[in-house]
Symmetry: C2
Subunit: 237 residues, 2 copies
């Protein structure tokens, strides 16, 4: 495809159609104590050389979520991750190539799944992003908002931590996402009382100090927490 070429499409009924649809995963992971986003360099026009979300064109017969996962694997080598739909960006001017809406996905995983040697993709701290292609900066900002919004009302963080983790690890993650410091003791009480996490029998040997107990998430699949708060009392009967 030549530079500055606008792609168009007309359907068999004679009406203009979108030139294509893309699916773009916004992949988050804890990385060096911070929340990081996975970006891949663009290898083609437009925005060649700039960083972008590791997404791409949907194929016919493909669910958008499948596209997000497939493109993520193609561009970064990363396998199956947690995906939830974020939003669709459909402004007709968001892509210089033409009318190409994008379905964005919130994706969560661990930083370790990326083999940096075998991929051109890289982690970037969520608050220090490079120049991004298309409207991807906006999409990432919306992804961060979603993640923050669900953090304390779901066990969404389950996908960002190993199966067993210490309270310090969990607290660092929550602090990295929300950009707020929590009081250690109350942090544990809140998560335990909301039945988001549960202690196990295991402890982890630290380098120094008392060994930390290992915790696990109560449910395995991310879901909204059952605890209702701020909702007024109901009537019996």
């Amino acid at each position: 495809m030549k530079e500055d070429t606008v792609i168009t499409a007309v359907n068999s009924a004679g009406y203009p159609a979108p030139a294509a649809i893309t699916a773009d995963p916004v992949v988050f992971a804890p990385w060096e104590g911070r929340l990081a986003v996975l970006l891949a360099p663009r290898r083609e026009t437009p925005y060649e050389g700039q960083w972008a979300l590791p997404g791409g064109f949907m194929n016919p017969e493909e669910e958008p979520e499948e596209t997000a996962q497939r493109k993520l694997t193609e561009k970064t080598g990363i396998g199956s991750v947690y995906l939830e739909q974020l939003a669709t960006y459909g402004s007709p001017r968001r892509d210089p190539r033409g009318w190409i809406p994008s379905v964005a996905y919130l994706a969560l995983t661990h930083a370790a799944v990326l083999r940096e040697k075998e991929s051109e993709a890289r982690w970037f701290p969520a608050d220090q992003l490079p120049d991004l292609a298309f409207d991807h900066a906006r999409i990432i900002a919306d992804g961060i908002d979603r993640l923050r919004g669900k953090l304390w009302y779901s066990n969404i963080a389950v996908t960002l931590l190993p199966r067993r983790f210490t309270l310090v690890e969990a607290r660092r993650l929550y602090e990295a996402i929300s950009d707020v410091r929590y009081e250690v003791s109350n942090f544990r009480r809140t998560l335990e009382q909301a039945e988001i996490i549960r202690p196990t029998e295991e402890v982890q040997q630290g380098l120094t100090g008392r060994p930390a107990r290992l915790y696990e998430f109560v449910e395995q699949q991310p879901s909204w927490s059952s605890r209702r708060s701020r909702i007024p009392g109901t009537l019996r009967d």
Copy 2:
């Protein structure tokens, strides 16, 4: 267009493209004490004669949200409503005509905006829906979930009530949406304490009994409530 005709599209770069994209508003309003959804009868194949969301095809150069509003007005005569993106339904088999993703919108308004005489659209109780075209039953279910989820954590109900309202009106609405009965006194306390609503000087003369004070929403635009709950104590500094 003939029945059972599949529409296809190929873009100018030679790749298959979606045949079209639609935008579908899920319009809610309080109606006869219940939560109701606005539906319009389909006048064309496929699903001719069945009830469907009042949406339709996006034009090029159009934002999806504009499409949702335009189609709503075309099909029901209703003017500007509150719109927020709900989700995109992109399964390649969701529309028998071909590859046609739909961007669904949550729309909120008052039942009175529909002039029933001048439109074929109708309100249906959200828990008594007729057979629906496409995957619209699923879309509406997701819309109800979204509305319930935000009910107590935002002032989203502002768009469903008149500018000034009584506590009983507000409570009936909250009960209709959440399908839960609330204790009167605690209901008021919760909404006032969360600074979602605020009392005014006015009172409304009822048919019988003590007149009810009129309330208003604190902010005018729907937004997430500032009150943080279940989030553990932070550290000072």
